[in-house]
C-alpha cells in the first residue's frame, strides 16, 4: 500500500497551537487527541496491519514558529514480510520553526522475522526549536529472530548537521547482534533531546581541545544506556540497549543530562535505573555512585 499523511501545526497567537492541516489515508491515519500538558497531541492510527513489505508510507510534519505538537502512535508497528524481495518503507519529514516544539514519541518498531523494512526520518530544526525524538527497535517478535530493518535518522539544527545515524539489524546487517553493535540485546533505541536552554555544552569544551563527558546508566539486569552530548547544537542523545522493550522504555525515560525532565512514555514501570559515574565494569560495586534511582 502507498499512503501519504500530512500534519501542519501553527501557533494560534494566544500561546496555543492550531492544527491547520491533519490528513492521512489508510494505513496512515492521523487523529487529534486531547492535549497533554497543554500540547496539541496527534495519534498515528494504523488503518491496516503492517507495515507489510511493499508498503510505502510517507508522513510530513510541519511545526510553525512557536507551535508545539506531540505525535504518538496507538501501538507498536510490526514490520512484516510481504511479497518476496519487497521492502516496506516509512518516511518521515519534519520541519520545526523558531521556538517551535515537536515531541515525536511513537511506540516501538518490531522487526518481525522475514521482514525487510526501512524507516527514514529527516528533521530540520530552526535555531531555537525544541525536539524530543524517540526511536525504539525490537529485534523480532517473542522467541523469533529479527528481520531486516534499517532506522535512518538525520537531524539538522540551524542548518548544521546535528545527528546522522542509521541502525541496521537482521540477517543483511553484518555483525549487528555481535559485541560491537548490540551485544545480543534484543531491544535498542535512542532519545534525542534538543533544548536551546541547555547549559553550554560540548561544542565549547571541544573547540578548545577538551573532551565532553557522557553519562552512563545501567539497570541491575545489565541493560546499558548513555547520555551523549552532541556538538552540532544544544542536544543530547540517550542511546540504549536492553533485553526487552519494557526495560528499554524505562532507560529511555531517564532524566536528561542537560536539565531536561523526563518525557512521557507509555507503560514504563518502576525498574531502578542507576547513574554510574566512576565504576570499572566488574570492579567492586561499592565504587559506583548512585545518583538517581527509579523514575520520576
Amino acid at each position: 500500500m502507498r499512503a501519504v499523511a500530512r500534519l501542519v501545526a501553527v501557533a494560534d497567537g494566544r500561546g496555543g497551537t492550531v492544527l491547520r492541516e491533519l490528513r492521512g489515508e489508510s494505513p496512515l491515519l492521523l487523529r487529534q487527541a486531547a492535549a497533554e500538558d497543554g500540547v496539541a497531541t496527534v495519534y498515528v492510527v494504523g488503518g491496516a496491519a503492517g507495515p507489510l513489505a511493499g508498503d510505502d508510507l510517507r508522513l510530513t510534519v510541519e511545526v510553525g514558529p512557536g507551535a508545539a505538537v506531540r505525535v504518538r502512535t496507538v501501538a507498536a508497528s510490526v514490520a512484516l514480510p510481504g511479497r518476496p524481495g519487497a521492502v516496506s518503507r516509512m518516511r518521515v519529514e519534519a520541519v520545526v520553526g523558531v521556538a517551535g516544539t515537536l515531541h515525536w514519541l511513537p511506540e516501538q518498531l518490531v522487526a518481525a522475522a522475514g521482514g525487510d523494512h526501512v524507516a527514514e526520518s529527516r528533521v530540520e530544526l530552526a535555531e531555537g526549536a525544541r525536539l524530543t525524538w524517540r526511536e525504539e527497535l525490537v529485534c523480532g517478535r517473542y522467541g523469533e529472530s529479527a528481520g531486516n530493518a534499517v532506522l535512518a535518522t538525520s537531524v539538522d539544527y540551524a542548518g548544521r548537521p546535528l545527528l546522522r545515524q542509521s541502525l541496521a539489524v537482521g540477517p543483511a546487517a553484518p555483525g549487528w547482534a555481535g559485541p560491537a553493535v548490540l551485544g545480543g540485546a534484543t531491544a535498542t533505541g535512542s532519545l534525542l533531546v534538543v533544548d536551546p536552554d541547555r547549559r553550554p555544552g560540548p561544542a565549547e569544551v571541544e573547540a578548545v581541545g577538551g573532551a565532553a563527558r557522557g553519562r552512563v546508566l545501567q539497570t541491575p539486569g545489565g541493560a546499558l544506556a548513555a547520555w551523549l552530548p552532541l556538538t552540532g547544537g544544544p542536544a543530547d542523545l540517550l542511546t540504549a540497549t536492553a533485553a526487552d522493550a519494557h526495560t528499554l522504555r524505562v532507560l529511555l525515560s531517564a532524566p536528561a543530562g542537560g536539565g531536561v525532565g523526563p518525557v512521557g512514555g507509555a507503560a514504563a514501570g518502576p525498574l531502578p535505573v542507576t547513574t554510574v559515574t566512576a565504576p570499572r565494569p566488574g570492579a567492586a560495586a561499592g565504587t559506583a555512585r548512585v545518583d538517581a534511582v527509579g523514575r520520576r
Binding site: R164, P174, T239
Partner: protein
Amino acid sequence: MTPSSMVLLLADGRFPAGAHAHSGGLEAAVAAGLVTDPATLGEFLRGRLATGGLVAAAFAVAAHRAAGVVDRRSTLARLDAELDARTAAPALRAVSRRQGRALLRAGRELWPTGGFEALPAGPPGPHQPLVLGLVAAAADLDPVAVATIAAYGSMTGPASAAVRLLGLDPYRVHAVLAALAADCDATAARAVATAADPPERLPAPAAPLTDIHAEVHTTWEVRLFAS
C-alpha cells in the same frame, strides 16, 4: 588495484600515527565479557567493519576527493561537521581527533607540501579519516586504496589489542583477520561507491554498544589502551 609499497606503508601498524595506543573499543567489550575468544572477536570485528569501519572509509575517500576540488577548505569543514554528527559519543569524537592530530604530524613530516592547511584548524584537530584522505592524496593513492587502508585499520587495531587483552594466540587472531579479508574489501568498495554522494548522504551506520562502552571506558582509572 596494483599493490603498492605506499599502501603497505600507510596501512602498517608501525606507521608512527599512534594506532597502537587504541583498541577500537575492544578493551571495554572485553571487560563487559562480550569478547572472550577468536569467535567473539570475529563477530566484534565484523560489526566494527560494518559501522565505524565503513564511516571511516567513506569519509577518508570523501576527503581524498576533496583534496582535488577548488573549495576544499569548506568541503573539508563540512565533512568534519558531518563526522561529528555521526559520532554521538564524545569519547569517540575525542579519540578520532586525537588520532587525526597524530596522523597529521606524520603526514606533514612526510609530505611538507601535502595541502594539510585546508583541514579544519583549532586545538581539537581534524577527524582522523579526513587526515587519512589528504595523506593518501599526497601519496598519490587511488580511492580504493584509501578506503581499504581505513577499513583495514578499523579491524587490525582491535585485533592486535586482542592479543594483549585476552592473551589470544596471534596465529588464531590472524586467521580471524584472513577470514574477514573479503568483508574488509566489501566495506572499502561500499565506501568508494558512496564517494560522489553529498556529505549528508554518506553512510552513518550506528553501533549503540560501541558508543556506550566508549563512555564507560573513559571513566576507568586504569586501562591498557586510550580507547
